[in-house]
Symmetry: C2
Subunit: 394 residues, 2 copies
Amino acid sequence: MDAVWFPRTDRVIDAAHAHNLTELEILALDADVNLADGHPRQDLTPGQRAIVDRMPQLFDVARHTPFEDLETRAHRAFLGALGQRLAPVGRGRMYSAYASSVGMDVVARCLAEAAPRVGLIHPTFDNIPDLLKAWSVQLVPLEEDELGARAIERAGALDAVFLTTPNNPTGHVVDADTLGEIAEYCAARDVVLVLDTSFRGFDTRSQYDSYELLDGTGVEYAVIEDTGKLWPTLELKLGIVVESRRNRLDIERAMSDILLSVSPFVLLMVEALAEDAAAGGFARLHELVAANRALLRGALEEVPHGQVIDNGTRISVERVKLADGLSARAMSDELRARGVHVLPCGSFHWARQDACDNCLRIALGREPETLRRALPELRRALATAAGPAVQSTA
Amino acid sequence: MDAVWFPRTDRVIDAAHAHNLTELEILALDADVNLADGHPRQDLTPGQRAIVDRMPQLFDVARHTPFEDLETRAHRAFLGALGQRLAPVGRGRMYSAYASSVGMDVVARCLAEAAPRVGLIHPTFDNIPDLLKAWSVQLVPLEEDELGARAIERAGALDAVFLTTPNNPTGHVVDADTLGEIAEYCAARDVVLVLDTSFRGFDTRSQYDSYELLDGTGVEYAVIEDTGKLWPTLELKLGIVVESRRNRLDIERAMSDILLSVSPFVLLMVEALAEDAAAGGFARLHELVAANRALLRGALEEVPHGQVIDNGTRISVERVKLADGLSARAMSDELRARGVHVLPCGSFHWARQDACDNCLRIALGREPETLRRALPELRRALATAAGPAVQSTA
C-alpha cells in the first residue's frame, strides 16, 4: 500500500526508495490523511474566499497595471504584514521567484560561485543541504541550539552562514540579540549571512525588523522570504530574495537565467492576501495552528511513548519524539499503511542521519477535522509499537 | 531614458550593463512598446476569456480533485493538442515544473552530474547555454543549419546533444527525418538527447509525434515541453520534463529538490486552455502570428536596409537582418530611446557573440495594434541609420 501505482506504469515511487523528504511528501499528495508536507491545506477563510472569488477581476487589473507597481505593492504589503518595515522595497534588490525553492536554488548557485564554504543550520529541511551540495557548496553543520558568534567561530573558516528561522522542523527562532551578534560577527569577518524565513508568518517572535538589524551592521546578506507556507492558495505563491546593497552574490544575474518575471496575477493575489493577513488573517491562522497543536498534544498526553519536544514552537509542523528504541521510519511506514502520512525526521539531520531516527513530523496546516481523523491512528500505532520496544531499552 | 529608476534606488538596471537577453527583456516589461520578450502578450480570445471568468470555479474543482488526476489530465490535453499522442502520460516519467526554465535548470544539473560534455544548438536563447555553463556543463556548438548525424560526429566525443526545436530566434524546425537520424546516432553511441520544444505550439511542422519516434530508437532522452509561450495567461503556466524509460539523468531526484508540486489550479487551467487550443485556439493563434508577421514584413518592404531572413519561420518572433555595417545593439538602443523595445541578436550566438551583431529580434505575440505603433519607429530608425552605414561598406 506504500506505492503510487500509475496506470501502465513505467515507474513506481515507493517510500522505501524515496531519495528525500519531498518524495515522501509527493507520496502523500493524494493520501487519505496527508499530514506529511508543511504546505497549507486548510480551508480558505472568508477573507481568502472573497479574494479567490475576485480572481477574474484581479486578472484584468494585473493585465493593465505596470509590472513594477504590482511587484512593489506585493512586496510592501507582504513584508509590511510581517513587521519588516525597513525591507528595501522598490530599491532594485528584491527579486521575485515562482517559489522560495527557486530562490534557494539561485542563492545556492551564487554561494557556489562566490562563497563556497557555508555553515548551515542543523537540523533543517533536507532540500536546503541537497540543493547546496548539488551546486558543490561545502557544508559545515551549525547546531541550532548553540547558535551564536562563538559557535560560528568554532566551525572554522567560513565564507557564509545559512540559517533557517523559524527553523523547520523545530520551530526554533533566532532572536534579535542572537541575530545581531551573528550579523556583527559576519560583518567583521567578511562572511555572507543567508536567512531562510519561510515560516516567519507563523511566529510573531520572528517578526522583529530583520532588515533594520542587518542593514545596521553592514553585513552582506541574502534573505529568502516566502508566501508559500501561509495561505491555502493551491501553490499560487511567491518566493522573494532580498539582498544587501553591497553583495558578492550575483543574484540579479542568476535569477535572470531562471525567469523573466513571476506572474503579475500572483503578485496581485499576494498583495490582497497580505492585506487580509494584516487585517486579522494572520491572527486567525495562528489560532488554527494553535488549536491543531493542542489537539495533537492532547492526544499524546494519553500515550506515554510519544511526546512533543519543541515546547515553544508556533510553526505549522510539530515534532513527536518516540520512545527509545522505536524507529520513526518504521512508525511512519506503519502509519502510511493505515492511510496517515507523516514524515520521519531522520533526513532533517543532514549531517548525521543515522543518529536521529526517533522523531515524526506532523503537519498542522490542516482543518482540525483532518487531525481528528489521524490522531486515533497515531495513538494506536504508538500504543502497539511502544510496548516491546520500551521493554527492550528499559 | 534607458534606465529603470527605482524610487530612492540602490541600483539601476540599464541596457549597457545587462548581463543577458532576459535583463534586456526585464527593461521592456513596462515599456511603451514591448516587442522584446517572446512571452505571449496579446489579448485573451473569447475562449480564453471564458476560462479566466471561471477561475474561482476552477480553483474549487482543483481543491477537491486528486492531484495525480489533475496532472495526468493536463499532460494528456496539452501533449495531445500538440500531436504527441504517444507521450508517456501517466507513466511516472513526466515532471511538472513552475516554468520550462525550472525544468531546464533541473536538466542542466542532471547533465552536469551524468553527461557533462554537451553539443548545443547554435544559435539559441542565451539562458540555455548560461544555465548549462553555470552547472559546469562543457558546451560544443552544433550549427543549426548543419544538424544531422555527421555534424554531431564532427563535434567530437559528446555525452549529450541538446536541441531547441523550433529554435529561438530562428524558428528552425528539426524535421522527423533529421530527428530520427540524430536519435539513432545517439542511441548507437550512448549519447543522451535533450529537446527543448517550448515553441512547438506555433508550428504544426514540429508536431509529428516525437515520443513515438524517440521511443522507437531506444535513445535516452529528456524533452522540455512548455505551455508558457502560447497563451496570454500572465505567466500562469507549466513546464514539463519528459524522460525516457531508461535514463542516466536523475530528473526525479533533482526535480524533488526544487518542488513538491506545481499548482493544481494551474494544471486545471492548462487542461482547459489546451482543450480550447485543440478546438480552434491554436489555429487562431497561428493566424494572429501570421498576420503580425505580414505586418512586419510589409513595413520592411519599403525599407531596403532591414530584411527578414528566416523565411519559413512560424514562431512568435522574427529576426530582422540589418544592412552591413549597422550594429543591432546600437539600433536597439536607438529604438529603445523611442520607446520601442526589441532584442539585439548577438547574445543568441553564444559561441561567437562578436561576429553576430547584425540582427534584431521582434516579438509577434502581441495585438496587431502594438506592432502598428512600433513599425513607423522601426522604419524611421532603419532609414536614418542606413544611409551612411551602407555607403561606408558599399
